[in-house]
Symmetry: C3
Subunit: 343 residues, 3 copies
Amino acid sequence: MEFTVEQIAQMLNGEVKGDKYLNINQLAKIEEGSTGTISFLANPKYEHYIYTTKATAVIVDQQFRPKKAYLTTLILVEDAYAAFTTLLQEYQKILAQNKQGIEQPSFISATAKIGSDVYIGAFSYIGEHCTIGNNVKIYPNVTIADASVIGDNCIIYSGVKIYHNTVIGNNCTIHSNAVIGADGFGFAPQADGAFATIPQLGNVILENNISIGANTTVDRATIGSTILREGVKIDNLVQIAHNVEIGKNTVIAALTGISGSTKVGENCKIGGQVGMAGHITVADNTIVTAQSGITKTVRQSGRIMAGSPAQDSHNNLKSQVLYKNLPKIEQRIRAIEEKLNEQ
Amino acid sequence: MEFTVEQIAQMLNGEVKGDKYLNINQLAKIEEGSTGTISFLANPKYEHYIYTTKATAVIVDQQFRPKKAYLTTLILVEDAYAAFTTLLQEYQKILAQNKQGIEQPSFISATAKIGSDVYIGAFSYIGEHCTIGNNVKIYPNVTIADASVIGDNCIIYSGVKIYHNTVIGNNCTIHSNAVIGADGFGFAPQADGAFATIPQLGNVILENNISIGANTTVDRATIGSTILREGVKIDNLVQIAHNVEIGKNTVIAALTGISGSTKVGENCKIGGQVGMAGHITVADNTIVTAQSGITKTVRQSGRIMAGSPAQDSHNNLKSQVLYKNLPKIEQRIRAIEEKLNEQ
Amino acid sequence: MEFTVEQIAQMLNGEVKGDKYLNINQLAKIEEGSTGTISFLANPKYEHYIYTTKATAVIVDQQFRPKKAYLTTLILVEDAYAAFTTLLQEYQKILAQNKQGIEQPSFISATAKIGSDVYIGAFSYIGEHCTIGNNVKIYPNVTIADASVIGDNCIIYSGVKIYHNTVIGNNCTIHSNAVIGADGFGFAPQADGAFATIPQLGNVILENNISIGANTTVDRATIGSTILREGVKIDNLVQIAHNVEIGKNTVIAALTGISGSTKVGENCKIGGQVGMAGHITVADNTIVTAQSGITKTVRQSGRIMAGSPAQDSHNNLKSQVLYKNLPKIEQRIRAIEEKLNEQ
């Protein structure tokens, strides 16, 4: 698959500065460009690479004014980053091995309803009374337990395990070995110190356009549902406990844990390795920095929280600086004490 | 499946206050109750819901004295929370799709011994010389490697991987994609900076009544055994390293890591994202709050540990408050310094 | 399989002190030794066990001088720990159930190239245009997606999922349910608050002699490659994000997360539950203690970093001590203030 610089410029609504007949057959980072590759420059921090890159072409913003000589051909566009993303998407469409059909051996219950144009990989298991939408791809070694519903255009990667009664909307992507709908962690203490298992009878609902990372776990509700609202994006190795609700378009980075019954608002950005206590509410548009611990309800929208336990980020920054300086602070106190003792 | 309020009250040894002939067909949270559902009120914090709930019936403590009018029918019992748990358990028994038999294709070694009344899902693999107890359920896509032993009444959910020589007691539940018995993380540094793998020849022993969460990992011992004692409950995404021992009825929340050769006592409660150093001992009845780091042996039973590195929780609370106030503390020191300089 | 003490001593180039005709059939920890077992003493902390151990033989350093009577037979060697490791390795070679051949049902694409002397377990899936080296063991329920390359002598444990275009070198071990090559976590914000998925078109490269722990995730690059250099050892439940590069012989403990595009140097030792920000560089020979957060580039080689955000470990230790003493520090300030007010 090969294109000329001109063909790519047309696709991106861009203007060529240089040789438009050169051939492009791969994408590359600007610092790793070689003959036949196309790259992009969006961040001014990387401008110096443009004067040395061996990429055949580089996509740049219209405003870009070179300060030195360069060897590459430029494609000028309105927004270089957006144009390159478009290119990535087009490239992926071409690459996408359009998996179709049902590989054998696979296990599809006689009572399951399967949509049109699906791919079901070998060793995948679809339980009783499941409903699988149109244009769904289920890779090998997936298990979808009884009475679950998967919407249209979903991609379920290899090894994903979906427990019974799970409901998944349209256009969702679930990465390998994620587990959706395992029992919530609920145990009732007994007189003898042992714990009795509290049955987890609810389910998990994923709305539309959700992405779940590899090895992430979303537990079923005790009663009712654990719900991820439309557009939620979850990274790898994240724990979402029973009865949690995550608001629309909220993004959660890797290794974060949200405890039971907590409600996270819309458009939140939660960093990696964050912990949230159970039974609290976090307002819309909250940002939580990595490794923070949210121990109490955050009522006001748009706060940036940091630290464990978390406080407003700019307060936490001050405390962090002083924490590093604690030895100096202690010396100042000692100096004062000595001065006073001398008086 | 439908019951009258009276039938449920009899099952729970309770007394009906209201219409005992109403029909119940589902469980609900009190704030989400609708016609035909039954709920419960145990936490006084939620009392206000009882005056507005649309649940047909609500289970309450005998001592409950309503302060306003309400629309629902009450079932008075000795302990509303315990009664509702009983109800959940009964409901689950009815719901439980009593999976039985051996689905095809599955792989069962000719030398494996399989108990009576088992379920083995399609694409599950049982290695040589394994012993599977009676009434065990093994869901699809499970691998149980050679010479492992699974006790009676265990439930092994889809995708669980059990390495060779693992020993699992009775009544254990292991959730999807948990890995039991992978090699401990042991490497010996070589002269050239590389690391040689130290063979991990021990195994994992899970005693009776243990619950393991989804995507949790319990590593095999280098020599000897990694042991989880009776009644231990582990949440999702927890790391238990080689040669660790966890005492009876200890509970560990998500994303916690216990390093190699550490011994955790009985009846401990370990919060989420806790880390424990290797080769230490943690006394019985220790409570560790979320995100704490236990770096040293905890000798005295019943302490509550918090912080990283952890100290007694009430000390840590004081330090936490002062940490947040460090800017004010620094200002006080500055004020003193200025005052002294003026003298 | 049984050996005499003399046979083992010869294998280890050691000298027997005691009865060389005794039989050995198992390895044990010194405190758990029994008749027929052999153990070792390397750490002086455990010397007291040698006077009570019931192990038939114990491997000790040549310099060892007993201070009391003992019942066991000694094997004197230059380095007891190294000798015992050799013994473990020999023992494992004998134990190793030499799995060979292709179990059925498995799924091997007609376009895949399979080396000699391989083991492919039942329910494993090898996609189109994959290349599998010689002497590779692929346990059951593994998926290797299209166009991936696996070098010689690799062990891929049950449930591992390898995405398309992954390149794995020789002598690599990947533990159960690890996921190699899932999409990096990349989303572009849209005008309406939703996020568009940025296609992840790169891949993952694992060089030679790499070990990956159970349930660990290594994401594919957006463009280019996520690279783990020769000899890297990764524990369980670790997150390696897109476009990360980990230098030669670096070791990373459980539950650590490395954010996108970060470069970690050679010979680093990264503790458990560590977080690293994206787009930073960590110098060779850096040590990071458990639960630390690396937020900035570490330029100088050989530093020991601790805390979140991390600083030099010995500074952090001082701050930690003073943090615990903050209540006392505050009292000292109060005492000074009172004294000044009295003046």
